[in-house]
Symmetry: C2
Subunit: 527 residues, 2 copies
Amino acid sequence: MEGESSTWLAGGPGGADRLAHLIPVALRALDAGVAERGGPIPAGGPAAVAAALAATGNAGAAPAARGGHDVLRSGTPGAEAGSSATPRAPQPAALSSAAGLPLHGVGAERALEELGTLLASGAADPADPKCAAHLHCPPLAVAVAADVVASALNPSMDSWDQAPVASELERQFSTGIARLCYPDAVRPDAVVTSGGTESNLLGLLLARETAGSAIRPVCGANSHHSVARAAWLLGLPAPVVVPCADDRMVPSALAEALAPLGAQAVVVATAGTTNTGRIDPLTEIAGICRRTGARLHVDAAYGGLALCSATLRTRVAGLELADSVALDLHKFGWQPVAAGLFAAREATDLAALTVRAEYLNADDDTEAGLPDLLGRSLHTSRRPDAFRMAVTVRALGVQGIGALVERCCATASGVHGLVADHPALRSWGPPELSTVVFRPRAADELPGSAGDDLVARVRRTLLEEGTAVIGRGVLPTGPEGSPQLWLKLTLLHPHATEADYRPILDAVVTAAAALRTAVVRESPVAS
Amino acid sequence: MEGESSTWLAGGPGGADRLAHLIPVALRALDAGVAERGGPIPAGGPAAVAAALAATGNAGAAPAARGGHDVLRSGTPGAEAGSSATPRAPQPAALSSAAGLPLHGVGAERALEELGTLLASGAADPADPKCAAHLHCPPLAVAVAADVVASALNPSMDSWDQAPVASELERQFSTGIARLCYPDAVRPDAVVTSGGTESNLLGLLLARETAGSAIRPVCGANSHHSVARAAWLLGLPAPVVVPCADDRMVPSALAEALAPLGAQAVVVATAGTTNTGRIDPLTEIAGICRRTGARLHVDAAYGGLALCSATLRTRVAGLELADSVALDLHKFGWQPVAAGLFAAREATDLAALTVRAEYLNADDDTEAGLPDLLGRSLHTSRRPDAFRMAVTVRALGVQGIGALVERCCATASGVHGLVADHPALRSWGPPELSTVVFRPRAADELPGSAGDDLVARVRRTLLEEGTAVIGRGVLPTGPEGSPQLWLKLTLLHPHATEADYRPILDAVVTAAAALRTAVVRESPVAS
């Protein structure tokens, strides 16, 4: 291995040996950082993390390692963080100062060691069951290992001559995904995206290209913010919002919303909402869309992988009736971000993405048999994320993935049981997927907005202490359907058990009791 | 390490050990596949790769390994590929059959070994100097190693509680990039994107949000196809196309195009065109935009990193006058895809991306000090690509990156010299960055479209033989400015020398001579 290790290439002959030298450096940093953190997230909150990072300046010390926990919370994080963190020999210069990026390098090993440790010690690690706020999964090691091969070879999916086998593997994998969503369709197809946000954009885009720019998006009050954002991006009117009950779209309300629009509408239903994991009544919604001629896109970014489980797939029945579906394998699927897919019942619908660029898909090249890949994405250069998804599915099988989904859902049912049995907690309702929504009863006893204030402060307190990372969501459960703030646990850890989550519930109750007095004192309504 | 390796998590305590077990399996597969391929790309072309992959069915054999070269080209790839490729013990089932994805898994090790070898043996490997068609770089090992840490921890950049230190490191890195582009601006900022395509979209989007949807995009005939595609996506009118000379935008033509539009225009200039690497006269263009009130976005996806070199940065002078700039560190920058950046001279311009989602950036959380990250991207879940970019810049320094850019440009000058001196080749012109554009003189001697046909067939022949991966581009060099097809070498291999490219030039000449008779025979004009 010749030359400076910082200029070594990952590919070509000897590439694997060069990686076999540098990756262990990265793994040692990962290990050291995880040990240093010791919990789900660094303690101290954003100000402390930023201040410590700024204050350490030339230090590689983790900004908010568990060792510095109390110091970071003491109010003078900048001054003391450096002394409290475990010192490491080489001290990196700040990544960016007033003068910008560092002019001179420190070499590959040192950069990996210092910044790798920093990232790991300062991560919110979804592999810790106490990190359960978001649809943010702990990735499988097999997916991470597969990605090394993809990164080293760097196939770019915009032309065949940058990705000969990678493009063929992607085609096979996405066809398999399309068949998973549409087992009875004649010619379904799927493309790889950066996630549900892009897949929802594609859902609206295909509708726009089919029905014209007068089309109106229609979605539930429970839909992801990316639906409205996609409408904005595409220059479409803001979506018509259909009321929900129990965080599910109300079919009769949808029928009413569609009545004046006719076929000039694209409905976005949700299979697994962000707030509660609820699944819209897909079959009924599809029937309404069919009668009015509206297109139907289903955002199944969360719930779609229930298709892998024989016992759970009935929960998303009706998915196969949609014109298009968004799936995310970086939720259930346990891929590192990004691992989005967009499936269409009719492959021909994807023709809306067709684009010509002479250097990538000239007509004569296409005629001569070079596959035209450019029209399979809104991106040009594009990573072969399908590769690690395909390796994972090959390793585990659809059944193996389904078993992990089942485990998460079963654990969520168990945790919901703990909530329901807890005298100091109130459950929003039993989980349909793996989200447990609850509220400390202490919040219900406070007047006006003070209850929500308490809920928000409980969450932030546990976050800032480094105790747990819990999610939040607003649901219309207040007087006369007014919004109320809830806590949620989104369970994507496939090996965690009910018992792992009990301490979070206890911590919520303890924090609520401790914060209640302060909230009452500061609340304008209560005081 | 407990349990099935296919369900091991990459993060948490012990994650590094689990990766230390699986990554070597992936690296052995990478090494075996690279050795099996033995050249820049598998021989046989798309049909052979697809047929061999389909024919091997249950085999993990590389579809188009060098060993199967002749067989794959013999016309019966399906029947013989299996027997010609080196047999490996475990035979994987097809990823996807009529029945879809595999129901049962084969375990992590076997999936990594089989599909890893398949990907590597069937890759177009930019670490081979003979793979020089596109802006498709060979990634640095340090960037690939850094990405392992990012993948294992899986920070998602849409909220602080998924990425505490990762978001702060990204902020520091992108501020550094913004200062690299805009050294004298008061408050520049930059955000991470998936590449030039998304950055160009942001350039037009910010203009639309500033000036309204009546704004008209204006770009050179040399601009990337993503500019027109972004206009389409955003619901804007198709761009006004400004003529070019020598693949550079003609300033007087731009002034003429802007005259009727006034401030209702966003100009996209290019610093490093895809076809030739030419740089538009940025300072002059910026002056014209300032006078008319038009916004200016510069697509510097290719040329932007010339800013890292003291000797080359003068070539992109005027970049700092643009309102926004697209940069790609997966070109010069030697990152695996994706590593895009979008810099804005005024941080406040990025406010156009602001979006609220209660679960990610609730007002009260933002007021309480939780950074609002959602408005820093069009994505929601988002990978910390800034981390490997930051590690790379930390390892090499800006100066080290600049030195690699200089080497590629110097090699391109050398290769251009070889072309200019070659009696059977014609140069389009000296490179401004690292792209060498040329044509076999044999093509010039053919009538009508037969010359272009010869050029296209030379490229496809070398591709299908597995000899070399060469690019193509149409330039207006024919009679009265009519389009003509050229070949190009895009040199992004930082360790290759002039001598490495001589065999490609010789192969072009040999292929042109061999194909000439067939082209003449088949040409409608010539016959």
